[in-house]
């Protein structure tokens, strides 16, 4: 019941913001690019300017005019794509969007596929390094999935996979990334989440999924998953592959401990900080007493 509610909320949410998930990140990157460019560009380039257009679905010229007036957004140039002048442009953009969507998504679940996920992961890793933030990666694997396929058939197996995918998609925040990275293996990328928050989220998902009855033909299937979580913090030089490996180890521990559970790795993928700057006890002792 709860999962259903969250699912509905997410879908409603999606209607309004589809195509805008990355807007903040895009603007952020653009700003960085311009700042670094401005430093290296010769001075006579300062007069150059460029108009960039970005599609904003669900916004009419009328409401834009109001927004623009209210927030002083006169630097933004608005083009109404509904009129015939830009019809071809809008059409072309739509085709590009569709193709991008298809090439990034797993056809069964609609989640990101492995390649797209790896790309997201490398982007988030760069962001963590830059912002000195946190990032968690969860790898999720359905327990005894072969039994489901053998007992109920592949169609029902697909239904189980779809159910988990919908739950992952619905229960996470807009800037989290969920992907299907293998047959019965999923990955969840949680920017800004440390090990504690990631564990809490995964525990919730784990028990929610275990309590879900998945209806398929005449049967009601109950299935569980195990998950391994790896987190990193700060100016990490870790690669996506390393993060995957650490999360995989944690997943292995969860499976070994009896499945249907979440394990967070104790091995923190963390930037090896420079211990040479640390003040040791003998140095403190010396400062306090003037002798060793």
């Amino acid at each position: 019941m709860i999962s259903c509610f969250i699912y509905m909320q997410k879908r409603l949410h999606n209607i309004r913001t589809e195509g805008l998930e990355n807007l903040t990140a895009e603007l952020d990157q653009l700003r960085q690019l311009i700042v670094s460019h401005a430093q290296s560009a010769p001075i006579d380039m300062a007069d150059q300017q460029l108009a960039l257009t970005r599609l904003v679905p669900g916004l009419t010229m009328e409401s834009w005019n109001k927004l623009s007036e209210r927030f002083g957004l006169s630097d933004w140039l608005a083009l109404d794509l509904d009129n015939s002048t830009y019809f071809n442009l809008a059409n072309l953009q739509k085709i590009i969007e569709d193709l991008t969507h298809k090439s990034e998504r797993d056809p069964l679940t609609g989640l990101y596929n492995k390649q797209a996920f790896e790309h997201k992961l490398s982007m988030e890793l760069q962001r963590v390094e830059r912002s000195n933030g946190q990032l968690s990666l969860a790898i999720i694997d359905l327990d005894d999935f072969k039994n489901v396929n053998d007992t109920y058939g592949h169609a029902c197996g697909d239904e189980v996979i779809r159910t988990l995918a919908d739950m992952l998609d619905a229960s996470t925040r807009g800037y989290d990334h969920a992907a299907r990275v293998g047959g019965e293996e999923f990955a969840l990328l949680l920017p800004g989440a440390g090990p504690l928050r990631a564990k809490a989220l995964m525990d919730r998902l784990c028990s929610m999924f275990a309590d879900t009855l998945i209806k398929c033909s005449e049967a009601a299937i109950q299935c569980t998953f195990s998950a391994g979580v790896a987190s990193l913090k700060g100016r990490s030089k870790a690669t996506g592959k390393e993060l995957f490996e650490v999360a995989d180890k944690a997943l292995y521990q969860a499976k070994n401990a009896g499945k249907n559970r979440v394990r967070v790795t104790r091995q923190l993928v963390e930037f090896e900080y420079d211990r040479s700057t640390m003040v040791h006890s003998n140095e403190k002792q010396f400062l306090f007493s003037g002798s060793k």
């Binding site: 960085q32 700042v35 670094s36 430093q39 830059r130 000195n132 100016r235 420079d274 040479s276 700057t277 003040v279 140095e283 403190k284 010396f286 400062l287 306090f288 003037g290």
Partner: protein
């Protein structure tokens, strides 16, 4: 082109509340009264309080340089006419505390033309060992570390020097001992710190001077007037004056170095 003549000095401490900002302000005032134009830069980005010590409320601050096209000389706020200005920082902006190298470069690019008008650029750094504090400290020609006789202050300033020397290869520091009861406590505080540096870090920071405990200091803070103006004949004021004289001597001896660039070559490799 006129050769650079600006001596850049960062005032640091590791621990907060040791009188860093007040010392920066009064040293600046001494130099100004000595006829040298001074720029006082509030580098406690994010939690600025030089304006509070001065009892002024500038409309713009360094944040405006990053956000808008405001010219640098409009952000400089005159404390005294003809040659004692200060650059206010923003208060309550956590983002500024963890400035990245891009933002830092942009800030100094905007400020650079302004700095050449001054003989002294005093940078009042925040407490702690944040990347911003370390980067600013590594940039300046002279680093003055303010300590008090308290063990916490000694440890924090030692930690700060250790980080700067191991991470930024900066090994020259001047020490001011503040709030000591008498000259012998001043000396023993300096000796303890200097010996620890010599023994564990392989360099000896130089003693710049001591500023005795003096009730005129908190009184001037409450009056929001520089001590040097409010009570120029007090013990602490005389101590600060001696330090300013010593800095002027140091500046003379460094003139050739400064003429090439007001900041050290360190500026290029502080990008992390």
């Amino acid at each position: 082109m006129k050769p650079n003549n600006t001596l850049t000095i960062s005032i640091l401490s590791g621990k907060g509340g040791v009188g860093k900002t007040n010392i920066a302000l009064n040293l600046g005032y001494c130099m100004y009264r000595g006829g040298f134009p001074v720029m006082l830069m509030d580098c406690d980005l994010g939690l600025a309080n030089l304006d509070v010590l001065l009892g002024v409320t500038p409309d713009t601050n360094m944040q405006s340089l990053l956000d808008t096209d405001t010219p640098a000389d409009e952000v400089a706020f005159p404390i005294e006419p003809d040659g004692f200005d200060f650059l206010p920082a923003a208060s309550g902006v956590p983002e500024l505390v963890e400035m990245d190298s891009d933002l830092r470069n942009l800030l100094f690019q905007r400020l650079d033309p302004l700095f050449n008008n001054y003989e002294y650029l005093l940078m009042d750094l925040g407490a702690g060992i944040t990347p911003t504090v370390l980067a600013f400290a590594a940039m300046t020609r002279i680093r003055v570390v303010v300590v008090t006789p308290e063990p916490t202050s000694l440890t924090d300033s030692y930690a700060l020097m250790k980080v700067l020397s191991t991470q930024h290869n900066v090994k020259d520091f001047y020490i001011i001992v503040n709030q000591a009861e008498d000259k012998s406590e001043e000396t023993s505080t300096y000796n303890r710190l200097a010996t620890a540096c010599e023994r564990f870090l392989g360099f000896t920071p130089e003693f710049l001077g001591g500023i005795c405990q003096d009730k005129m200091v908190p009184e001037s803070v409450r009056k929001q007037t520089p001590l040097m103006k409010n009570a120029p004949n007090s013990r602490a004021a005389k101590d600060i004056f001696s330090i300013a004289v010593k800095l002027q001597k140091i500046k003379k001896s460094m003139l050739e170095d400064i003429s090439k660039s007001i900041f050290t070559e360190n500026t290029s490799d502080i990008s992390n």
